[in-house]
């Protein structure tokens, strides 16, 4: 059910448990009665406000301030010594004219697309399978979630060994099946896919747990009815599970797009953007500008462009979330 808003809502004021005073009737209408109610409401929720302040301060310092600073930097030339100079859209022009700019956006879009094709369904399928299992559920959930507990850098470097064209695990496995070895990270045709595999493996635990939680909320009698109608596993998934979880599937889709478009650690640690710029992503190029070229303005401009694109997906996500709440 949609929660009423504070301003303009017709809720009765001072209702127990909602913790906020009702709307004032108009300017000058706040009498002693209303002031007392406000004091009582504030008193009742002092702890909550305390926690809220803490969270707001943390967000302001570590999220909002850097975001604002980044926006400001993208319009400045700043050497962090002299007063910064406002340069309008020069930084944007510089990065757009960069030969790697186009590749970075194409690679980022390709990474997100491949991550959807390869990685989007995997956690859902895993969740369905885990949900159907009768034994060792807890153990398997732990195993699936284990990669999430590894620090990302460790997980990525682990795959670096797996991908080694000589003694790497993957080529050893191919060898067992008498298949020719692959270049994995060293080929323009397989490098990006290899990064997607790493990313999928690192993140599938979280997705699986979220889907499992969603599956648990599906009423059991729907499955029972389907079974009575003679539906097998696939038909139960198609006709019950997917329709019942379509909102969470949509939300996860949007979250995945937002997350994968910011891919950085995989190309940074595994390929350094190569071979032949095949794995240079927008976030990686942003890093190059800021830290390798010492051009924070250019990095900020790229960051702002990425932020605008992601805001579109975030807006859709918010809309979908609201629908879900309804």
């Amino acid at each position: 059910m949609r929660r009423p808003r504070f301003a303009g809502s017709a809720r009765p004021r001072g209702k127990r448990g909602d913790g906020v005073p009702g709307p004032a009737a108009g300017p000058g209408a706040a009498g002693p009665d209303q002031a007392g109610a406000l004091r009582r409401a504030v008193g009742r929720n002092l702890t909550a406000y305390g926690f809220l302040c803490g969270a707001l301060v943390c967000f302001a310092l570590f999220s909002w301030y850097p975001m604002v600073r980044e926006v400001v930097l993208s319009f400045q030339e700043n050497n962090f010594v002299d007063a910064p100079t406002w340069v309008g859209f020069d930084n944007f022009r510089t990065v757009i004219e960069d030969p790697a700019f186009r590749s970075a956006w194409i690679n980022t879009a390709a990474f997100s697309g491949l991550a959807l094709v390869i990685g989007y369904a995997v956690p859902f399928v895993l969740a369905v399978v885990l949900n159907e299992l009768r034994h060792a559920k807890a153990y398997l959930r732990f195993v699936v979630y284990l990669p999430v507990m590894l620090p990302p850098a460790v997980a990525v470097l682990l795959f670096r060994w797996f991908y080694d064209p000589g003694a790497g695990l993957f080529n050893q496995v191919l060898d067992v099946f008498h298949l020719p070895p692959l270049s994995w990270l060293d080929s323009t045709s397989t490098a990006l896919v290899s990064l997607v595999l790493v990313s999928t493996w690192m993140n599938l635990g979280t997705g699986t747990l979220i889907y499992l939680a969603a599956l648990h909320s599906i009423p059991g009698d729907l499955y029972e009815s389907a079974e009575l109608d003679g539906a097998g596993l696939l038909r139960r998934v198609w006709h019950v599970t997917i329709p019942q979880t379509k909102l969470i599937l949509l939300v996860m889709l949007l979250l995945q797009i937002v997350a994968t478009m910011q891919v950085f650690i995989e190309p940074y640690l595994l390929t350094g953007g190569g071979p032949e710029n095949a794995t240079v992503t927008v976030a990686y190029l942003m890093y190059q500008y800021a830290f390798n070229f010492g051009d924070f303005g250019g990095g900020g401009a790229l960051g702002l462009m990425l932020m605008v694109v992601l805001m579109v997906f975030s807006a859709i996500y918010l809309r979908v979330s609201r629908e879900a709440e309804r």
């Binding site: 301003a7 010594v81 060293d186 350094g272 190569g274 390798n292």
Partner: protein, 451 residues
Amino acid sequence: MRRTLSLVLAAGLGLVAASCGSGDDKPDAGGSGGQVTITVGCQPPKSNPKERAGWDADVAEFQKLHPNITIQSKDAFPCINPDTFQAKLAGGTQEDVFYVYYTDVQKIIKAKQAADISQYVGSVGKVKDLRADVMGVFKDGDKTYGLPRNNYNMGLVYNRKLFTQAGLDPDAPPKTWAEVQAAAKKIAALGAGYVGFGEYSAGNTGGWHFAASLYARGGSMVSDDGKTAAFNSPEGEAVLENLKQLRWNDNAMGSKQLLQWEDLMRMMGSGKLGMMIGAPDVVQGVNNDFQGKFEDYGVTAVPESDGKASLSGGDGYMFNPKATPEKIKAGLLWLEFHELTPGKGQFNYARAKEQGRPVGLPIPDLYGDSAPGKEIIALRKQYATVPVDHFAPYVAAQPNITLKLEPPKAQELYAVLDVAMSAVLTRQNADIDKLLSDAESKANKILAKNT
């Protein structure tokens, strides 16, 4: 809703105002009553107790000589992380006397992120004896921005143990690229995991080594006026053709590519890599941090370089642009004492030998043939603890080699050339002419923007 919106906007505006005002911090006073305290970077880390003890002893000795100066040492490993340089500067935590690689010096000068020390550097007596090309690293026109600590030319680092295993003579390292190819093939044939010759091709390191190889062949990265790229030349083509030969025809470079700095150091340390382009500091790094042993490695001149030129390599110190004149003067006194005086600080070889630290590497070469240079070489010979013969071919080639500075927009050009390097090493049918021509047009755009 409106009130909330107003609050958010007000907070946002406040943050914008705060962020706009962060660039004009007041300079540090630098000291009062004749007392000066300076922060100095690159104190050896605790994990290197011997060098750290030497540093601390030097600080104590210096402070005794100059009671009005207090040195606050800042340790870090590695001494500088270029990635955090800007952040330290922006956050006000950059040392007064900060450590820097040659590769970053010109970028820092262009960005006005170091103090101009021209009017104070004359007080350092040793400056007149320093090699002009070495001092040139820290100059822009007639202005000086820092002092060197280390200097070396590129060479060919090789694993003597592997040479012996492969039936090669470690005392007669390759002098031509044909000899390098033959040696690399033999080393790679030792078995799985052995790599005859290693080269970088990612994270801008590929472009960096392309420049080093190009200079050694007598080529240039940019035209004399710095406005256009000049690497699409017979020398540039030869660099890539040579790698193509080693990688695909000789199969001597291993199958794993996109290597960066640490990869080759690790491979060299593990004893599986035969040769790489590098300076004697590679041997030092492999010995100190990658489980290699000094006696297993040798360094010779870059094949076929014939004393043409070498990409400048080394490190030194620059000054915080907010440092007061008192701090700059105190910093120069410290640098003269610790980095430039034979028998003192970094050149205190007697102490290094006593501590069991390696002595005898032919670096740093700050003075060339001048009196302090000769004195340092004599001290190095007197207290040598590593087999100096292993570096003899490298040392013999040094007098004729000219130090050549990095090109303008170095990191941007290196990023462009990473593409060509990675293409040649990962794609057998890579078209070298096209790669160089593409890189040239991209580099020209970058340079045009710069000029």
